[in-house]
Symmetry: C2
Subunit: 199 residues, 2 copies
Amino acid sequence: MTAYIKSVEKLINEFRKLPGIGPKSARRIVFYLLKLTREEILEFSKALVEMKDKVRFCSICFNLSEGEMCSICSDATRDRKKICVVQNVSDVTVIEATGEYKGLYYVLGGLLSPIEDIGPEEIRIPGLVKRVESEGIEEVILALNPTVEGEGTAMYLKKVLQPTGTRITRLASGLPVGGDLEYVDELTVGKALSNRREI
Amino acid sequence: MTAYIKSVEKLINEFRKLPGIGPKSARRIVFYLLKLTREEILEFSKALVEMKDKVRFCSICFNLSEGEMCSICSDATRDRKKICVVQNVSDVTVIEATGEYKGLYYVLGGLLSPIEDIGPEEIRIPGLVKRVESEGIEEVILALNPTVEGEGTAMYLKKVLQPTGTRITRLASGLPVGGDLEYVDELTVGKALSNRREI
């Protein structure tokens, strides 16, 4: 499209690389940015680089952190006998948003996958086992996605964590709150049925 | 959410300001950006500032440009007797994408709106009239949105351009290509009916 100029085209392409942004959204965003002041653009640009420069990973749980230890690991009020195991750093914020959990975390950074050649070392499982043993963890909550890889990783974790004697739990599978039986897939309804509880 | 760190939160807020990006998309984008290398982030950040620094508006048609004149106004192969009037710079690229138009443009930058106190001067209408007169334009194509403000602006433009003797046309209203009568609103079907053509 000849109407585009190089610097605009380049920025549209940068936005198109982002997840969930197609060519039309990218164009819309860039035309919106064109209307902003230079100061606003500079702030955006600075926020990008600052995030990259400041963010590191917690040496204990591999959550995002601006220091050696993340805000959760260094929080003395948290229950230090529980570890919630998640796949990604973004999952930590999902669990935190519930307000229901006050323990610690461990971010695997992935799931076991023989096809992609991802074994226990790649997703820091030995480090988790060591932590459970040395810190006398009483419960490990597996908050992994209910997918084939998630199930496989959970099964493996159960196997290697059992010898430590810790309690191992998983997030419940069942109907989403506010969901409608008619629109929920049959596997989920099946899980909800077999996990049914007394009321 | 305590799991977030300041620099990450700040960037999420920057992304949330963009059109079509909600809190979940912003979070997803920022976690994606965290995985990129510093060089990739720098390139993104540079593209933002460069776009702002390099882009200006064409002194003739107010399209985006990196110089005094945009690539369309300075293209000698274009039909210099036709002007297509659009609301925004983004509309130029929409018309260009069709490949059906080889004339020049005029970007109003808005539409007449008594409520918002936008009059003919605010949307550069006097400049358009002057251009039509001095350049001996043979056709002015009004490519404005088929909304109340678009219609109003088109009517006003017709009134002020008629004395110049130029031909004034509008984009056709009717059924979208590939559309389904059942799903098209009745106003559009009505327009399609009154604008029906011999086949």
